[in-house]
């Protein structure tokens, strides 16, 4: 109950603030946005749906969406699936009913098949939806014009490849690597592993000693890394992990042996702990996914389609299903991090890097 209440409370407060501040700041706002946009912003409710704000990626993703809602002065709601597809879909249906279909939704579906149900529901109700990461390969935005606006994702292959190269550079260009994978059947786990293998193939002096699935779990990564130190001893010159949580687990296992900072580790996702470890010289690199951008820009593109600023049906497929840019963070680039400029929500495809590919 608590969760359901709080967004409404926030809406009321926000509406109150926008209205009372309206007269005073009318001039300033009117110069930023045309007047009819302001009128329409009040009509639509903007919403983010994701697994849980307990994970930093989704917390930042939600914050990005909220930033955009603040930017246009629209109502904003947060929906949490808690890893439960039924709950995720039911909450979206309830919100569609409450808003009379005047909904702009940016959703990271709990599971790929959910995306189809959600897209159909939103399209039938006359709302607009952008999906993230998970959707069936045969479900395309252009099949539901104009309601299914776009699908955004990140390509794990080039990111996995670039971060592996950073690891190999940290090892001095040669030696044995052990690798911690995610859940074997996960698409990002598969893509990131492909990137790892591509980079190793490019470096003849590097050997993949072992690959184990630690299921995105830092404790499991800790135990596996301990066992690797027994099995391979000093032959382990670098530890690769498919996400930062597992990288931290591996790093702590190395610390138990006095090897933290001696054996480089890399992860992917760009969580704070990993960025700090890069700063401390204990990790050789990670890749950040820019969740502020996915959260805010997903809503921005859908919103501007809804109010007719973008004619989404005429946009090329590369603007309907596209990858964002993974940002490689290494010792060289970590210093300039945080100096990033505030998100420009009107530069719709500025950070897009190509149309999504479906790998068999």
């Amino acid at each position: 109950m608590q969760r359901k209440k709080s967004p409404i409370y926030q809406l009321d407060r926000r509406q109150f603030l926008t209205r009372s501040a309206g007269f005073a700041s009318m001039a300033a706002m009117a110069s930023a946005l045309p007047r009819d946009v302001l009128a329409q912003a009040a009509d639509y409710t903007l919403a983010i749906s994701m697994r849980s704000v307990a994970n930093p990626y989704h917390a930042t993703f939600t914050k990005g969406g909220e930033d955009f809602a603040d930017f246009i002065g629209a109502k904003f709601a947060t929906l949490v699936t808690e890893g439960n597809s039924e709950k995720g879909i039911a909450d979206i249906r309830a919100l569609l009913a409450r808003t009379n279909g005047k909904l702009i939704l940016n959703v990271d579906p709990n599971d790929s098949p959910d995306a189809r149900v959600i897209v159909e529901d939103v399209a039938n109700a006359g709302g607009f939806v952008v999906t993230q990461w998970n959707k069936p390969a045969d479900l395309h935005p252009w099949d539901f014009d104009p309601h299914y606006v776009a699908h955004m994702s990140f390509d794990g292959v080039p990111s996995g490849q670039r971060v592996t190269q950073a690891l190999i550079d940290g090892m001095g260009g040669e030696g044995g690597i052990v690798a911690l994978g995610g859940i074997l059947s996960n698409v990002p786990a598969i893509e990131r592993r492909q990137g790892l293998e591509l980079a190793i193939a490019e470096n003849p002096g590097v050997e993949l000693l072992d690959f184990q699935a630690a299921d995105w779990n830092e404790t499991k990564a800790f135990d596996i890394t301990q066992a690797w130190i027994t099995r391979f001893g000093r032959d382990v010159k670098g530890v690769w992990a498919a996400n930062d949580g597992m990288a931290i687990g591996a790093l702590e296992a190395l610390r138990q042996e006095g090897l933290a900072g001696t054996v480089p580790v890399t992860g992917i996702d760009g969580i704070d702990a990993a960025i700090q470890a890069v700063r401390d010289g204990e990790m050789a690199g990670t890749v950040a996914w820019d969740p502020t951008w996915t959260g805010g820009m997903g809503l921005s593109i859908a919103y501007h389609s809804a109010i007719g600023e973008i004619n989404i049906a005429d946009e090329p497929q590369g603007h309907r299903e596209f990858y964002g840019t993974g940002i490689l963070i290494t010792a060289d680039t970590v210093g300039s991090l945080g100096a990033a400029e505030p998100e420009n929500f009107l530069d719709f495809w500025g950070k897009a890097t190509g149309q999504i590919q479906y790998r068999g």
Partner: protein, 329 residues
């Protein structure tokens, strides 16, 4: 012929029955022997220390879990309690999230928080008469929820070297976490063998109606058992925070499965009344050795879960005396 063959199997059967309590130890020794034959580095002293290190936190967790399972109940709040205690402990020592710096006071605080949540488990279970399965599942979710609400998805990073020493410091070449686990086992063993609560746990698990007639304070014992289990989970949370140098809402992920598996593989019956904390120590070692061994032997990842599952069934089949069970559910 017929009689002779029956006689022989009866003989073997009774030998197995008489020595069944040693079955988990036999499984552990066999497992070690097989792994050492495939990869002799397994018995390298450094690896043995790593095994103990990997076993430390699960050992603390199974101490409490054994008490609860001895009563025929179950505690599914392990992951939640571990997570909140880890978050509390990491937020009390020098860290990047709060300005607190209470040093090792975080240890009793984490244990007490666990004790309190465990107590809530017990009271809700006893007074509301909700099965422990549901109560502890619910309280576990609440615990993770609280940790999530406080942190908003953030992770508390620990910078307190003195607190990290609880995991990283070595005494006689063995990590401090292992010594803490040994102390936890001694405490649990004392509770089991030398206190009335220990006896009562077996009485309740064996036959609750008879125990009640014999004057065993059922409700009080149940609440105490859940509280003690919570305290052990709390301590495990503190140890996990020290080991990983951080605290976050998902710290406990994967711990529940290992805990229950270890208790059962060690020979403590889920139906209650049979088992011991020492059995569970052996159970933890079996699970940890198996995991370590599969990596050492280079078993492909997709085969590991299968092997793990088969071994669990085999170990339970050997360890549990089912001849006295009238039905199996």
């Amino acid at each position: 012929m017929e009689a002779e063959r029956r006689g022989r199997t009866d003989g073997l059967g009774s030998v197995i029955r008489r020595h069944r309590r040693w079955a988990p130890v036999v499984v552990l020794v066999l497992l070690c022997a097989i792994i050492a034959m495939v990869n002799p580095r397994f018995i390298d002293p450094f690896n043995l220390v790593r095994l103990l290190n990997a076993a430390a936190i699960p050992t603390v967790l199974v101490m409490g879990a054994t008490f609860v399972i001895l009563m025929g109940s179950i505690d599914l709040s392990v992951e939640g309690v571990l997570a909140v205690s880890a978050v509390l402990a990491s937020a009390m020592v020098a860290n990047n999230f709060t300005s607190a710096d209470f040093g090792l006071w975080a240890v009793p605080a984490g244990i007490l928080l666990g004790l309190a949540i465990g107590g809530v488990n017990g009271v809700a279970h006893v007074t509301l008469r909700i099965p422990s399965f549901m109560t502890t599942l619910g309280i576990g979710f609440v615990a993770v929820g609280v940790a999530t609400a406080i942190l908003q998805g953030d992770t508390v990073r620990i910078s307190d070297k003195g607190f990290r020493a609880l995991s990283l410091e070595r005494i006689l070449g063995i990590p401090a976490g292992v010594w803490i686990a040994v102390a936890a086992v001694l405490v649990a063993l004392f509770i089991q063998e030398r206190t009335r609560m220990g006896r009562w746990l077996y009485a309740i698990g064996g036959d609750e109606a008879t125990a009640r007639q014999a004057g065993v304070p059922i409700e009080r014992t149940r609440v105490m058992a859940f509280a003690v289990a919570g305290a052990f989970s709390g301590l495990a949370g503190v140890m996990a925070a020290a080991q990983l140098g951080q605290g976050h809402a998902l710290m406990g992920q994967g711990r529940l499965f290992v805990t229950i598996t270890a208790v059962v593989v060690g020979g403590t019956a889920l139906s209650g009344g049979v088992g011991s904390v020492l059995n569970s120590v052996v159970g933890v070692l079996i699970v940890v050795v198996l995991f370590n061994g599969m990596v050492l032997m280079g078993l492909p990842p997709f085969a590991q879960q299968g092997v793990q599952g088969l071994l669990i069934i085999a170990a339970v089949a050997m360890a549990l005396d089912r001849s006295r069970l009238s039905f199996v559910k």
